[in-house]
């Protein structure tokens, strides 16, 4: 989750008048971009998948990580197109390096070991395996391991190993498959659910809202198997269905995989996905739904009675992609029903049940495969519960409500989408500047934490580079 500030509005003008960019920051970004501008090469793409397919990144992505129709089919079919077996080209690396400036500093530091404001961080460095394992049986993988430069530790990250087969059902073309993965929604073909949804890059040093839905919280804390299929009921109309069943990681394994203490959840966690996609010429439209149900133990417990949390979501995406531009519009709404049948009797919540809702609307435009702009609106709202949301300096909710509203504007420059530098043809990069503006934060616009901090104090400017090679 991340939040914004109006890029072009009066508040932003004031913001940029008062705060000048550090010269070393601008020189650093220019130094990275300049060689690519001066010495372009024939288009190359996302490292591992691009090396396998020989396609430019624009074939699969609008910028990245948003998928195009080609990218969705590539993923659906098990990451095997264009490849046969693993080779060194299926290995890749990525780094996110950024500068974070909050409107108001955070006393004590943005994170342990970081300044109270205006801090650089190589916040994420990842290694990947991406592509075919054995194309003859449709086996391929996306495996990511990440070094968290803020928490200073390695952990497993998005993982999706799948086997996909073509077939026929009612004389219609079908792809069906089996997936092992570690996050509900990481298998998704559209960039609407949280796993691959907006914001695509967020500052690990910024101060985010307290409330988040369960489906967001389970990423990398679970592992599971899923089955999926996509059927073309007409050449232009596809129905996609998926059912995954997760278990929470055992505590020791959770530590071993670098994600800290386990999230104790009883039993199996089902995740269901249904989507319909219509495509025509350069356009595609998707509408869908997904759901997740789990039974977490109350905070601090690993056995006994459990709560019951149900996430129900609706999502939609439209894309219009031509050689010169790509437009993408997305919407995602999650309604979470929280039944505190175990926590409430223990006094951990103020209510026996609550609701939490999140709405995200995103519009992206990419011009000439180089210049991107994305505007996003996010609204989190739900029941007030002082047991869940308490007054705490900086991170608290003084009125006990989860409500947060944010606007995010992101400007991107992709120097290598139309040609990589000669010294590293597989290099891809995204130079970004992202501004997040909070009209309300953790329930209120002013004094949201009970210690006098206003929502606007968390307005965040985040700029830097996302490198992949």
């Amino acid at each position: 989750m991340r939040k914004p500030r109006d890029w072009f509005g009066p508040a932003s003008h004031d913001f940029f008048r008062r705060r000048r960019y550090p010269v070393p920051l601008l020189l650093g970004l220019l130094g990275i971009a300049l060689p690519a501008i001066l010495w372009p090469r024939p288009a190359r793409a996302i490292p591992a998948f691009a090396a396998q397919t020989g396609q430019p990144c624009s074939a699969c992505h609008i910028g990245f990580p948003q998928l195009t129709p080609y990218g969705r089919l590539f993923k659906l079919q098990g990451y095997v197109a264009g490849g046969m077996f693993p080779n060194w080209k299926n290995l890749a690396a990525m780094s996110q390096i950024g500068f974070t400036r909050l409107h108001d500093k955070i006393p004590g530091g943005l994170a342990p070991g970081f300044k109270s404001n205006d801090a650089w961080a190589a916040q994420q460095t990842s290694l990947f395996y991406g592509g075919a394992l054995d194309t003859r049986i449709g086996l391929g993988a996306f495996i990511q391991v990440t070094y968290d430069g803020v928490a200073k530790q390695w952990h497993w990250d998005n993982t999706d190993i799948r086997i996909a087969r073509p077939g026929r059902l009612f004389d219609k073309p079908v792809y069906y498959g089996l997936t092992f993965n570690n996050a509900p929604g990481v298998t998704d073909l559209w960039n609407t659910p949280p796993a691959w949804g907006y914001p695509y890059i967020i500052s690990s040093l910024a101060n985010g809202p307290t409330a988040s839905t369960q489906i967001q919280s389970l990423a990398q804390a679970v592992y599971g198997l899923g089955v999926y299929d996509a059927i073309n009921i007409t050449p232009a109309d596809m129905i996609y269905t998926e059912a995954d069943f997760y278990k929470s990681l055992p505590n020791r394994m959770s530590y071993a995989l670098g994600v800290g203490p386990a999230t104790p959840i009883d039993g199996v966690i089902p995740y269901l996905r249904l989507a319909f996609q219509h495509t025509w010429v350069n356009n595609s439209f998707e509408i869908g739904s997904y759901a997740l149900l789990d039974h977490p133990y109350p905070n601090g417990m690993i056995n006994g009675p459990t709560d019951r949390i149900l996430d129900l979501a609706a999502d939609s995406q439209f894309q219009w992609i031509t050689r010169r531009q790509a437009l993408s519009v997305g919407a995602n709404f999650i309604h979470e029903s929280q039944d505190w049948r175990a926590s409430f009797p223990l006094g951990l919540t103020a209510n026996p049940s609550d609701t939490l809702n999140t709405l995200t609307l995103t519009v992206s435009e990419l011009l000439f495969q180089r210049f991107g702009v994305t505007e996003s609106f996010s609204h989190i709202y739900g029941s007030g519960d002082t047991g869940l949301y308490a007054a705490t300096p900086v991170t608290g909710n003084a009125n006990g409500k989860p409500d947060t509203t944010s606007w995010t504007t992101e400007l991107d420059y992709y120097p290598f989408n139309n040609g990589g530098p000669s010294w590293l043809p597989w290099l891809n990069a995204k130079l970004f500047i992202e501004n997040t503006f909070y009209p309300t934060f953790n329930g209120l616009a002013r004094n949201y934490d009970g210690s006098g901090r206003s929502a606007g104090a968390n307005d965040t400017l985040f700029t830097g580079i996302w490198l992949a090679f």
């Binding site: 490849g83 073309p173 792809y175 050449p235 596809m238 350069n282």
Partner: protein, 129 residues
């Protein structure tokens, strides 16, 4: 009305130029299917490769022959010649026909539709013989 007559004549001309092998197929309908299903990745202009290779002159040509396009090793070693039957088999299920091809298209299930598209492809460039 004049436009309808012109379109009908053009469709008839295309079907005729595709040759007797496509007598039952409809190249005009194939063009429409092509534009809806294939044109996002494939150009029919000579030498104009996109996500997929240009399909100018593809009919009757050996696979992986389009100049300037980086084909998968699977396609390069397929030794396919794009005859009517070869195209029909490939379009029905590309990944099944040539595992490892870059083309992740799910396939065109309807045989008549495939024939129409093939009839259209046969009208392009040096193909159609």
């Amino acid at each position: 009305m004049k436009r309808i007559v012109t379109s009908a004549l053009a469709a008839a001309a295309m079907a005729a130029s595709a040759g007797p092998a496509f007598a039952a197929a409809n190249a005009a309908k194939g063009k429409s299917l092509f534009q809806a299903q294939c044109a996002a990745c494939h150009s029919v202009q000579k030498g104009q490769n996109g996500i997929g290779p240009s399909l100018y002159g593809v009919y009757g040509q050996p696979a992986a022959a389009a100049p300037g396009y980086q084909f998968s090793s699977a396609m390069k070693s397929s030794h396919i010649t794009w005859t009517k039957s070869a195209l029909d088999k490939f379009l029905a299920n590309p990944q099944k026909d040539v595992p490892g091809t870059k083309m992740p298209y799910m396939g065109m299930a309807n045989g008549a539709d495939r024939q129409d598209v093939i009839a259209y492809l046969a009208t392009l460039g040096s193909g159609g013989k």
